[in-house]
């Protein structure tokens, strides 16, 4: 793939991922992860691994499935009313392309969330380790460094950022 094609393909992938969150297509979102994929929001920007560390999120596909099933359960009280989100993803940079087509990419995001009458903002950077497959990219690791990760949380986070 040419350099510009990789840039375009990764951008489209990130936009699609953000859209799945904003449209609450949870299963499709989880399916973007490789079988051994991990979604990680470090508790501290200095952390270099999710394994064995306190983390705001550190979820493999099984845990992501628990979260999805919980959100969809009719008695998940905190989902009523549900929230709305809007993600904007930008500043996409391709950091590395391996010979087999696997990619490491960095980007910036801004997420606005609305629940009842309350608006919250979360912003920061994504680092995606993407595996190239026949069906398109799959996420091996997504690291989310929120600028406001260390701030006190006024209420909690319900799903992935």
């Amino acid at each position: 793939m040419k350099k510009n094609d990789v840039q375009h393909a990764v951008e489209q992938f990130l936009y699609q991922q953000a859209d799945l969150l904003d449209t609450k297509k949870w299963q499709e979102y989880v399916d973007l992860f490789a079988a051994d994929g991990v979604y990680w929001v470090p508790a501290d920007p200095a952390h270099t691994t999710w394994d064995g560390m306190p983390a705001i999120f550190a979820e493999d596909k099984n845990l992501m499935t628990v979260r999805m099933k919980r959100v969809l359960h009719p008695d998940a009280w905190s989902q009523r009313p549900a929230w709305g989100t809007n993600h904007v993803v930008s500043n996409v940079r391709i950091d590395k392309v391996a010979k087999n087509g696997d990619v490491q990419a960095s980007s910036r995001f801004h997420m606005m969330e609305m629940r009842r009458d309350d608006v919250r903002h979360f912003a920061g950077s994504y680092t995606h380790h993407l595996k190239k497959t026949k069906g398109g990219y799959r996420i091996k690791l997504q690291r989310v460094d929120m600028t406001n990760a260390q701030a006190a949380y006024d209420y909690v986070l319900q799903v992935w950022v």
Binding site: M53, P54, V66, K69, A151, A152, V156
Partner: protein, 443 residues
């Protein structure tokens, strides 16, 4: 107006119900801060948070911004985070190292780690002949009236008089004994990460929920079911046929059905402290636990080991602001921010000398249950907010705590729930009884 209310406070609490104003009246909140939080023992932090001289953490006690600092003398001091000169906050960061001494950012007054004045710029020419200077104690940073620690857990009281820390904790000190004894080295070490989550509700609502055995299977049904489904799928696929223990911690919210929670017991103590017994079946026989058992037996001997792991505690609530889950080394400190806003500071600990997989168990609980992406507390927080909203309503004057009322047994000031009455509202009755005593005990 406050004075008029003080006389009335006893009428707000009856043995099996309390008036709604107790949760929503800002005047009562101010009195609570004066009479409870700024007088009795409040948890500041763990000694391992400040290992080196000059290390400090800021901490809120009632309405008072304080500092917990390790001195050059190795002692842990608790000071008001305030320069005595013009009232400037001394440390603006949440934590850090202040170096050899504190130095005010406004006029460079400096102070020793124990708060004593060290230097003032041009002190001799500026202050000779005035009543200010090193001989005036008002020119030092003010210290908490009393500081004591128990097994590394540091508490401060802003009142000169009152019970000692151990008198105050009484039987509830088992929270720290149980946690530390489970370490082969008899000590725990803090994992230096604090999750901070704000609850939009009165601080007492959180405390009441901590030992409320009726709520888990109602509030946390969705997470319990979801985890149970995935747990079964993993077990089906896995060769050994078992999902990690963390799934069990979550699925228990569905598998331990509402009727089974009566099998638990609460023990209710003076000052409002409570213990909820029961341990979600967490003494498994997997290889990790067996390896840990071996290390423990080597450290303590078989007899003492059995005593230690036989301690049957789910939760210990230390009134008015600490919730400890000793078997999983979790601690939540409650900092009231206002009548309808409460900050929880959530920490976990490593058992010194225990194998890594045992720490991973504690970590899994910390991440899944206590992080800001919690699969469990989200629904609690929603309920707390709804409670606070509902209590503003004049649709009723009372909050009731009548479940199994009149069936508790009391021996030497300790209220025990009867057999098969684990869902009794005795802990809430006990907390409000203590509250009335604290509040009636005005300065």
């Amino acid at each position: 107006m406050l004075q008029e209310r003080i006389a009335d406070l006893s009428k707000y609490v009856e043995p099996d119900r309390v008036r709604r104003e107790v949760y929503v009246d800002p005047g009562i909140f101010e009195l609570e801060m004066q009479r409870i939080h700024e007088r009795y023992w409040i948890y500041c932090g763990h000694e391992s948070q400040v290992p080196k001289p000059g290390d400090y953490y800021t901490v809120q006690i009632g309405r008072q911004p304080m500092l917990m600092v390790r001195g050059k003398d190795r002692k842990v001091h608790v000071l008001y985070n305030r320069c005595p000169h013009r009232g400037n906050m001394m440390c603006g960061d949440r934590n850090g190292n202040t170096g050899e001494f504190f130095r005010c950012s406004y006029h460079a007054w400096t102070f020793h780690h124990d708060g004593r004045l060290r230097t003032i710029p041009m002190m001799e020419s500026g202050y000779s002949g005035t009543r200010f200077g090193p001989d005036n104690p008002d020119c030092s940073m003010k210290k908490a009236a009393r500081v004591e620690s128990y097994r590394g857990f540091v508490f401060a009281s802003l009142a000169e008089d009152g019970p000692t820390l151990l008198e105050f904790l009484g039987e509830a000190k088992i929270a720290f004994d149980d946690m530390c004894d489970r370490a082969p080295e008899g000590e725990v070490e803090i994992v230096p990460n604090c999750f901070r989550v704000i609850q939009r509700s009165n601080w007492k609502i959180f405390l009441e929920n901590q030992l409320d055995a009726l709520h888990p299977s109602v509030t946390h049904q969705s997470t319990g079911r979801a985890a149970h489904e995935v747990e079964k799928e993993i077990a089906k696929k896995a060769k050994k046929g078992e999902a990690p223990l963390s799934y069990h911690m979550l699925s228990a919210f569905a598998t331990v059905t509402i009727d089974k929670w009566d099998a638990f017991q609460t023990l209710n103590y003076p000052y409002g402290h409570c213990i909820l017994t029961g341990y979600m079946g967490l003494r498994p026989q997997d290889p990790d636990t067996l390896a840990y058992d071996k290390v423990m037996i080597k450290a303590y001997g078989k007899k003492r080991f059995e005593e230690i792991v036989g301690v049957n505690i789910h939760h210990v609530l230390i009134y008015p602001g600490l919730s400890v889950q000793s078997p999983l080394q979790q601690l939540r400190a409650v900092r009231p921010l206002g009548v309808d806003r409460t900050l929880t500071e959530i920490w976990h600990f490593r058992l010194k000398g225990a194998p890594e997989p045992i720490y991973r168990r504690s970590l899994a609980y910390y991440n899944l249950v206590n992080s800001p992406s919690t699969l469990v507390n989200a629904d609690d927080l929603e309920n707390f907010w709804k409670c606070q909203q509902g209590l503003k309503s004049e649709g009723g004057d009372w909050v009731t705590f009548g479940r199994h009322f009149g069936r508790d047994s009391e021996k030497a000031g300790v209220v025990e729930t009867g057999p098969n009455m684990g869902t009794s509202e005795a802990p809430m009755r006990n907390q409000m009884k203590a509250w009335a005593e604290y509040m009636g005990n005005g300065r």
